[in-house]
Amino acid sequence: MKAIAILALKEAALIEARAAGTAEALEQVRIKYLGRKGLLPDIMKGLKDADVSERPAMGRYANELKQELAALLEKRRAALEKAAAVSAPDSFDATLPGRWRAFGARHPISRIIEDAIRIFDTLGFTVADGPDIETEYYNFDALNTPADHPSRDTQDTFWLESGQLLRTQTSPVQIRVMESRPPPVRIIAPGRCYRRDTTDATHSANFHQIEGLYVGERVSMADLKGDITCFAQRLMGPGVKVRFRPHFFPFTEPSVEYDFSCHVCGGKGCRVCKQSGWIEISGAGMVNPKVFTKVGYDPETVTGYAFGMGVERIAMIRYGIHDIRLLYDNDKRFLEQLAQ
């Protein structure tokens, strides 16, 4: 073979490379000349048999062929890709909807209960439980409810055949916990409660409460205020303030009702807070010494606070729900809106 033949081969290769219009064709050219079983390796193999005077030129031309062809192929490939990106139709569609199973949604009631559990967990509160079917003793007597108090009426309370009742509040859990252990006590007790209310936009015969109780030495109303404020800010937002109004409950003394400052308007007044800047939440107070006496605690050595809150009410405020029945309607669209 002559060196000139290699030059001719190079010309042919470059022409073919220029003519190749697709990535596949370019690859064909590469394989034909530069591939493992291609023409160029063939030439290189034959080099040792060639005329000694021809060998240097042949080597040089072969090298040129290799480098120039590779460069051209790369250039052509890049150009083709660029052109393809501009014009070529492709079945790949990045805009198709994603395909993976979606999460479900937690019900707002159980979500708020869980939030409360987590928030009070950081203060060392453990979760306590009690039965929905209660005795009159735990639901009323032990909580210092007078024997002829109207809340005991069959008008307000669901009594069962056995003389037991469906608890009207989660407060009986307080009694059960205090009976079962010496102080100190730090619990929260979420659960279902029942009252003979006819269902409407703000009433439900069955609803959820969260009860809190802290008993120890020198527990004060200032502790109650501090802890509820901490809860309010973590649940509704960092700027939320808490205020107390005096009230009356048989099992606490002093008793208060507590309000959160409106998380929507920051206290300036809006539709949610009915222009008052405050939202009524629920009741709280210092445990009545009579209750301590009932569970065998010494009211001289321990004091404590208790608070309650209606979960549905908080859910309605937090999510802007106008009708309590929506919470028990279980419309998938409604529940998914509130997924978090």
Binding site: G104, S110, I187, P190, F248, M286, Y328, N330, D331
Partner: protein
């Protein structure tokens, strides 16, 4: 409790805006629910005298009145039925604006010109009364500005009084609070009046039997009536009460009747003591007996309803029959009439519980019963009687007979309470000085009878029966000092004994701690429940919460067999909420159906909640359950949702969720599933096995499309496809898969700490096997057969294809499995694996009747 500010200010001279007062009262425990502005300055409204009344030519109901306005006489068209010549009535001249915003203009009414308007009370914003024109006293000259007659604008507060503060159900009570809050003096109205006639006491006076001026009072039930007083007022003139009194009553929501009745009501509003007036002439033998009603006794009350009385009701009777239901309502027969001459004025104290019960039994409540059932001030009974007597002497021309009947056998001892200053500071968490505490008590007219360095002793007046113990006094300090001044203590964390963190780690003890509804601290169970919820949400299910109370219809629709177990409410509020649910599935199906009816084609729901039932000993039992429900192509993603949904799809998706949940909760889910319910961890049983307690009746499932779930061999739940007839109730056309399982056994292993195992070192080799088998053979039969004959190198058996075709043949299917072999000691060669696989195939043919393809 409605409180007109003009009235309150007669008791306490305060100079504050109504808004400031509302704020102060609310934060002292007297929550003001409403603030109503009433009346106006009545510009251009004067007293008019009706000179003449003539019929309107074009309208029967209208009249043409000539009205003297002081300056002129004008023609007014009037529609009131009670307009008469000579009446003095409010006249609104042209240009006047009524409190309701109506502007008076000259007008033609049915063709007749009218130059002004004669007003009713409601049009002036003075009361709700629209029966006719407001009648003004005849001695006021025409032209007098109305404001001089009825007073200027007023504000009425509506105050919510908590049940422990009956003393605040009166102007006086509220005034006492205001005086304490603002540190001002309390002015009491006059109770002075002249007495006439002979000396009061008759011959036979005792604590329960007393005679005065021809009236005899006997209290038979001194427990029900600890104090009864009566005064006799002779020669009264029945007529309207003074205008100012009538207006005040109206502002407090009480309709004026006549001077005697109005005065009893007025004094009740003033001091909280309900009073009752009897006509002496209508009391047989001039006798009052306070006693229990006898069985079968009846009485018609003032509202003209005949009431059946029972011996647990207290009545006021004359010598023959009841004339009033004590503390609740008077009788129609003994009330004050226009002809009444002599009045018996009752001021008494009745036992609250008795009045409450009577009022409830009769379904009859009144301003009077409302106060008695909360408790009236036994020390203020005579004051009220004197006050009313003074007013009757002044406004009804009454002559008060000398003396009073006062049956008051046991005068209660005044209560004294010791209050420690340190205790106040400790309980409230606020640094308040001793002197400040003492002065707050004094502001409340609680007399300090003794004081030491560390405490003071306070005497409690009879109008504050709610003050029983030291802590009640501390509450008084708190609300007067101001709850807003109590600081927020910095929250601190404190771990108390018995929390989950200290629970014993042994599994058995843990399992015992995990009981739903178990009284007391139950941290671990509830936290595990939360984790369970989150897992299900992560698996794509949405949580629902249904009522605990359900209708019998729904339960029976799903479950006709188990009615005996149910706990039925004796007095439900509606048939929809009549039974405590004994399973979650009925509402699960209903919820899916409700969503389907709202064009929601697919849903995956779960609920975790309590069910209630009677156990074998008939004791009420409650238990936490989990329910799952799937409808529509929920197991598919993207755009393959249109293809028809097969029963197998729904069923297996649900099963997959259960398996995933179990794995998450450390329950063993074997790849070699046990279908006889004997395996460790999750296994299944045929539905024919008797259902475990509290589990849903299996009648709501399609035949051969359901299984009982066992955990460690214990039946715990059930799952399958809803029977077609039941689906039809909610027009659920496609398969619906549901599951219900007890929560406690599911959570039993949740606290497991897994141990790390060494990962395999040598590579595995996979070989496939395709079988043609009869449809009767199930997956589990094949897998079990393979495992039975498997060499020790076989590590997994995985189903990867299943199909039927003409080629396979009728009643048969093809199932293909991928078998993985691995050795723990060395790398298996191809030849070794081929030998193992071939051997397995051969033995499998003998094990079960399959054709290996």
């Amino acid at each position: 409790m409605k409180v007109p500010l003009s009235w309150l200010k007669e008791f306490v001279a305060i100079e504050v805006t109504p808004e400031a007062l509302v704020e102060r009262l609310t934060f002292a425990g007297l929550e003001v629910e409403g603030l109503t502005r009433i009346g106006s300055d009545f510009k251009d409204i004067v007293v008019g005298e009706v000179i003449s009344v003539n019929p309107h030519p074009n309208a029967d109901r209208l009249t043409l009145c000539d009205v003297a306005t002081g300056r002129e006489t004008v023609r007014v068209v009037c529609g009131a039925p009670n307009v008469r010549a000579g009446n003095k009535v409010p006249f609104a001249a042209i240009g006047a604006v009524l409190p309701n915003g109506m502007k008076i203009k000259s007008a033609k009414i049915r063709g007749e010109a009218s130059f002004g308007m004669l007003c009713a009370e409601d049009e002036l914003g003075l009361s709700e009364d629209h029966a006719g024109l407001m009648q003004l006293p005849c001695d006021i000259p025409a032209g007098t500005p109305l404001i001089e007659v009825v007073g200027g604008p007023d504000v009425v507060l509506t105050i919510e009084v908590t049940p422990n503060r009956p003393d605040c159900l009166s102007i006086l009570g509220i005034a006492r609070e205001v005086a304490a809050l603002y540190g001002c003096r309390l002015n009491l109205p006059s109770i002075k009046f002249p007495e006439t006639g002979p000396a009061a006491d008759g011959p036979a006076r005792s604590a329960t039997h007393s005679v005065a001026g021809g009236l005899t009072v006997v209290v038979e039930d001194t427990e029900g009536c600890p104090r009864y007083t009566a005064r006799l007022l002779r020669n009264v003139t029945i007529g309207p009460s003074p205008l100012a009194m009538r207006l005040r009553l109206a502002r407090c929501g009480i309709r004026p009747i006549n001077n005697i009745v109005d005065i009893t009501n007025y004094v009740m509003l003033e001091c909280g003591q309900p009073l009752h007036a009897f006509d002496l002439a209508l009391l047989a033998e001039g006798r009052i007996v306070v006693r229990r009603a006898t069985l079968g006794e009846k009485m018609t009350t003032l509202d003209e309803v005949e009431r059946k009385l029972t011996p647990d009701m207290l009545v006021i009777a004359d010598a023959q029959s009841p004339v009033a239901i004590a503390g609740v309502m008077g009788g129609a027969q003994s009330g004050i009439l226009a002809t009444t001459r002599d009045v018996v004025l009752e001021s008494a104290c009745f036992k609250p519980a008795l009045i409450r019960k009577t009022s409830k039994t009769l379904g009859l409540s009144s301003e009077s019963s409302y106060r008695f059932e909360r408790g009236v001030d036994i020390g203020g009974v005579d004051w009220a009687s004197r006050r009313a007597t003074a007013l009757m002497v002044a406004h009804a021309g009454a002559a008060a007979a000398r003396g009073v009947v006062d049956c008051f056998p046991v005068e209660p001892k005044g209560r004294s309470i010791v209050c420690r200053f340190d205790r106040v500071r400790d309980l409230l968490g606020v640094d308040i000085q001793d002197n400040e505490i003492a002065s707050l008590f004094e502001a409340l007219t609680l007399t300090i009878v003794d004081r030491s360095k560390k405490s003071c002793t306070v005497k409690v007046p009879t109008f504050r029966p709610d003050l029983e113990a030291e802590v009640d006094l501390i509450e008084e300090v708190a609300r007067l000092y101001g709850l807003d001044k109590i600081p927020s203590a910095l929250p601190h964390s404190q771990f108390v004994s018995g929390s989950a963190d200290q629970a014993p780690p042994e599994r058995s003890a843990q399992a015992r701690a995990l009981r739903p509804g178990e009284p007391g601290v139950n941290d671990a169970f509830i936290r595990a429940t939360i984790m369970c919820r989150d897992t299900l949400v992560g698996l794509g299910l949405t949580e629902i919460i249904n009522y605990s109370l359900v209708s019998e219809k729904l339960l029976t629709l799903c479950d006709a067999a188990r009615t005996a177990q149910r706990i039925v409410l004796p007095r439900p509020i509606s048939v929809d909420q009549a039974i405590l649910r004994d399973a979650l599935l009925p509402q699960m199906i209903e919820t899916l159906g409700r969503n389907r009816s709202r064009q929601i084609a697919e849903a995956a729901f779960f609920e975790i909640g309590r069910v209630f039932f009677r156990n074998d000993q008939q004791a009420y039992t409650e238990e936490e359950h989990v329910a799952l429900g799937l409808m529509g192509p929920v197991g598919r993603t993207g755009y393959d949702k249109r293809s028809a949904l097969a029963e197998t799809d729904s069923f297996l998706w649900l099963k997959g969720i259960l398996e995933a949940l179990c794995r998450k909760l450390f329950i063993r889910v074997d790849e070699r599933p046990a279908y006889e319910g004997q395996g460790a961890g999750l296994a299944f049983q045929e539905l024919t096995v008797a259902a475990p307690p509290a589990l849903y009746d299996l009648g709501c499932f399609e035949k051969n499309r359901a299984m009982v779930i066992t955990l460690d061999g214990m039946p715990c739940g059930v799952f399958g496809l809803v029977r077609e007839a039941l689906r039809r109730e909610w027009r659920l056309v496609e398969p619906v898969a549901i599951l219900e399982i007890r929560l406690a056994p599911l959570l039993e292993r949740v606290t497991t700490v897994p141990a790390a195992e060494r990962l395999p070192v040598y590579p595995s080799v996979t070989r496939d096997i395709a079988l043609r088998i009869n449809n009767r053979l199930r997956h589990v039969d094949i897998v079990n057969a393979i495992w039975k004959i498997a060499p020790k190198e076989l590590t997994t058996v995985e189903l990867f294809d299943i199909f039927s075709s003409n080629e396979i043949g009728v009643g048969c299917k093809s199932m293909a499995y991928s078998l993985t072999y691995r050795s723990g000691e060395r790398t298996l060669t191809d030849d070794e694996v081929n030998r193992l696989h071939l051997g397995l195939k051969d033995r499998l043919r003998n094990e079960i009747s399959v054709e290996i393809r």
